[in-house]
């Protein structure tokens, strides 16, 4: 239980009266107030985070920089797992074990530095102790580079790369399931538990599920990696070979990445719509969880089709942009390009636009994010190599656009979650009335969407428009691609 105390300096803080408020979501309890009018805070924060991005990129990732972790799999693995650690700390554990009072009162920069350092410690412990030390020594050898390097002909470099690949494939799954349990399943059945019981419960279940999904989607990929194919420890050739036109696990990486992106679209620019329309909690949670997968598969197939329409039909056995395995991987990469602007809209643009009904807002934000994603895609392939120290061109075998894009997302998450959008915003705790008013406003938005003949007609007309838009898009894509030269000769 809490009560609001108005302090003499007019700053409002939650003050604990009985027990720590670990169970409540800090992100929902805080109000971020712009320090300046108009788009200035967004511009300032964008510049600030881009500077941090570039400094940290140079230190950790850049092939011309200091630590040069972009080997690529080592840097890729740490980037992905850092994302998951951030999600765990904020979404699963709600900043536990830090007292809410500390989270509220500490200066954003200090808080950002401390929490980021802790996330880095957890990250290193996870990779070195759990994956390499425990799993790699007592369970599955391919998680431990030193064990792989004992195989004849495998160099230390590739031993580390292979182990990193296994870890990051696991990460892809965890980055979908961990937030999905909060966003889609609404933390059920542990939503009423206090921390850390709730966090650990969700963590254990999502980690367990990630392990199962890993074995049925990625383990065969690792089994094929070693000669001869590991027939008796993994299913080879894998069951997806004929459907996906490849034995590579990138087929699964693609739809799982689309799941991750869909979870975050749902949580941010979609405001959990359309699943929020379902009133029965159990039905809503189940529909949302599997709905995310269904939407992700739609995205998965569509982005593959987009490549067939632009680059041409995939040819099995080729390398580069005609290879099915790269095409599937690129599906995930395209999805991430869509996510970056969506997160910017949510974190720094107040989830604009807001003035329409929920479905219209959601549709407009999706269109804006898609358009901005296309621009970002163009900019990345046109200029990214000059900034990031990578190689120009599509489908370089050692190049993964997901590394810089997720690295940027991680920095935005640190800025938005740990630093309360400093320097462009300041955090003010919401009053109980404000929280109640927000909840009521959301309920009203949802209740506005009631079945009527007008709504039904609109849905029918919209369905026709949606189908038409889809077929127009696939008709014009090949011509557009021919007209736009992303990478000039």
């Amino acid at each position: 239980m809490k009560k609001m105390v108005i302090l003499s300096d007019n700053k409002k803080f939650f003050k604990e009266t009985t027990m720590e408020d670990y169970g409540k979501n800090y992100l929902e309890q805080r109000k971020l107030e712009k320090k300046w009018k108009g788009p200035i805070p967004a511009i300032v924060n964008l510049l600030f985070t881009l500077v941090i991005f570039y400094i940290t990129w140079w230190i950790f990732q850049d092939p011309r920089g200091w630590l040069r972790m972009y080997t690529p799999y080592v840097g890729y693995m740490y980037t992905r797992w850092w994302l998951i650690v951030l999600i765990w700390m904020v979404y699963l554990f709600n900043f536990w074990p830090f007292k809410r009072d500390w989270v509220i009162k500490t200066h954003p920069v200090i808080k950002g530095l401390i929490l980021t350092s802790i996330s880095a410690l957890i990250l290193v412990a996870l990779i070195k102790i759990f994956f390499e030390g425990i799993l790699g020594n007592f369970g599955i050898a391919y998680f431990n580079p030193s064990r792989i390097s004992k195989l004849p002909g495998v160099t230390e470099f590739f031993a580390i790369e292979y182990a990193s690949l296994a870890c990051l494939m696991f990460a892809a799954i965890a980055s979908w399931l961990s937030p999905a349990w909060v966003v889609a399943c609404e933390e059920a059945p542990w939503q009423k538990l206090s921390q850390p019981a709730k966090g650990f419960s969700i963590w254990v279940v999502t980690f367990f599920l990630s392990t199962i999904v890993y074995f049925v989607t990625m383990h065969s990929h690792m089994g094929i990696l070693y000669y001869p194919w590991q027939y008796f420890t993994s299913i080879t050739p894998p069951y997806w070979e004929n459907f996906a036109n490849t034995v590579s696990g990138n087929f699964h990486v693609a739809w799982i990445m689309c799941c991750t992106v869909t979870v975050w679209l749902l949580e941010t620019i979609w405001e959990r719509f359309p699943f929020s329309l379902i009133k029965n909690p159990t039905a809503r949670r189940i529909t949302a969880f599997f709905g995310i997968i269904a939407i992700a598969f739609a995205m998965h197939f569509f982005f593959y089709f987009v490549q067939e329409l632009t680059f041409g039909e995939a040819i099995r056995g080729t390398r580069r942009d005609a290879a099915p395995d790269w095409r599937w991987l690129h599906v995930g990469e395209m999805a991430i390009f869509l996510l970056v602007p969506a997160l910017f809209l949510k974190f720094y643009a107040g989830n604009w636009p807001n003035k329409f009904s929920l479905p219209v807002n959601v549709l407009l934000r999706t269109i804006i994010s898609a358009a901005a994603g296309i621009v970002l895609y163009y900019l990345y392939y046109r200029f990214g190599h000059l900034v990031l120290g990578t190689q120009k061109g599509f489908s370089h075998p050692q190049q993964f656009p997901m590394i810089p894009t997720i690295w940027l997302i991680n920095i935005w998450l640190v800025n938005h979650w740990f630093m309360d959008n400093w320097p462009g915003w300041k955090m003010v705790p919401k009053t109980a009335e404000e929280i109640a008013a927000e909840e009521k406003a959301m309920e009203e938005k949802i209740s506005e969407i009631k079945w009527s003949s007008s709504l039904g007609l609109g849905i029918g007309a919209g369905a026709v428009i949606g189908m038409t838009l889809y077929f127009i898009t696939i008709r014009i894509l090949p011509f557009l691609y021919e007209k736009i030269s992303i990478i000039p000769n």
């Binding site: 080592v74 194919w229 034995v247 089709f305 056995g317 290879a323 959601v362 549709l363 120009k392 061109g393």
Partner: protein, 387 residues
């Protein structure tokens, strides 16, 4: 508003839901269905005629680009991975004495430029002091002899290797030094800018400084400077993407592909052998051998409409690494019907073994002159097509 009138707000809400829902549904149901194939362009074949020749003979001067994979990969690992600019490794000949990953073209070339291309032994002594793992450097080069329909023979050199010392030994072993000096070799074709194919350029220029050189577009400024700094006095031809017709039945095909160690673009050789079909000879084939075949199918006209043979590095597992996508290649290559496969260099020994296991017509070698395994067509070995 009465009940039978359309409520504009509700209609718009419904329309937004309908648009989103239907678009997602169409994406999911249509995009990977068999119906989507109606949108694919039919493969149109340009059937460009680049002539025909009687036969070709390829002599492997050197396929051992480096001698110890662990040493090379150790260098790459410590320098920061496969995207690091190759001129920064401090590998021979561009050493500045500052250690691994801290090299630069300008500092390295400054120390040896005055000795190129004639005083390579002296240059090598300087290189030894400033570079790392000198003895691991080898190189890739091949001599391609074309027999035209009238019996006239023409010779081209594909690539010039890496180590000055090793390549000079190999050139002497195969008599390339004399062929160059006598003017028997018409041109040097550099497949791409990689260290193991290009950095041994002064060895060719030592014997024939005015030789015509063909490079693919995409060379970086360091590479272009190196051609001049090595003492080249002949014609330099930069091939654009696509086909460049060379002699009857011989064409170069340039692919704009990004390549590891900050290299861009590779050109490979196509030959149309009378009554046999198409033969491809590649340096590394970074574009992928099946991409190469598919391009030939779409672009070129060749006898019997048949893919006859391959020689060269096929760039599948150059560092003896592996990935399931390489198995896609191993599985698929059989569909292309090659009758003669000579592979080495960056193909990967494991890959060559998998080809043999699947019964592909791999021409095996003799494993001489530091080539490690007979599954490769090794150093000093010869393969002919159409003979």
């Amino acid at each position: 508003m009465s009940d039978n009138k359309i409520n504009r707000k509700d209609f718009i809400k419904g329309a937004a839901i309908g648009i989103g829902g239907a678009t997602i549904a169409a994406m999911g149901l249509y995009s990977y269905s068999p119906m989507r194939k109606s949108h694919f362009k039919a493969k149109t074949r340009k059937l460009q005629d680049f002539g025909v020749c009687k036969s070709i003979k390829v002599t492997n001067i050197s396929e051992t680009s480096w001698f110890d994979n662990a040493t090379l990969m150790g260098d790459i690992k410590k320098a920061g991975g496969l995207l690091v600019n190759q001129y920064e490794y401090n590998w021979p000949p561009f050493g500045n004495g500052k250690g691994l990953g801290k090299g630069s073209y300008s500092e390295g070339i400054e120390k040896i430029k005055h000795l190129l291309p004639n005083r390579l032994d002296e240059a090598w002594e300087i290189i030894k002091k400033n570079c790392i793992n000198i003895d691991n450097a080898g190189g890739f080069a091949a001599l391609v002899e074309i027999e035209e329909l009238d019996g006239k023979k023409r010779k081209f050199l594909l690539d010039s290797g890496w180590s000055y010392k090793w390549m000079d030994e190999c050139f002497k072993r195969e008599g390339i030094d004399k062929m160059l000096a006598n003017g028997e070799i018409e041109a040097l074709i550099i497949s791409h800018e990689h260290f193991d194919h290009f950095w041994g350029l002064p060895v060719t220029l030592k014997y024939k400084p005015d030789i015509t050189i063909y490079i693919p577009e995409g060379f970086y400024s360091e590479g272009l400077s190196y051609i001049k700094d090595s003492g080249h006095r002949g014609k330099l031809i930069i091939n654009k993407a696509g086909l460049t017709k060379m002699t009857p039945g011989f064409g170069l095909y340039n692919f704009n592909v990004p390549i590891i160690c900050r290299v861009f673009g590779e050109q490979s050789m196509f030959f149309n052998i009378k009554d046999k079909g198409l033969v491809s000879v590649t340096g590394c084939c970074h574009q992928g051998i099946i991409q190469f075949c598919d391009t030939a199918y779409k672009e070129l006209k060749y006898d019997n409409d048949k893919l006859h043979g391959i020689y060269g590095g096929l760039h599948i597992s150059p560092f003896e690494d592996w990935d399931p996508k390489y198995d896609d290649l191993v599985i698929s290559l059989g569909n292309y019907g090659f009758e003669k496969i000579g592979c080495n260099h960056c193909t990967g020994l494991l890959c060559a073994k998998k080809f043999i296991e699947r019964g592909y017509p791999v021409v095996q070698g003799t494993a001489r002159f530091r080539t490690k395994d007979k599954s490769y067509l090794g150093n000093g070995d010869v393969i002919s097509f159409g003979v």
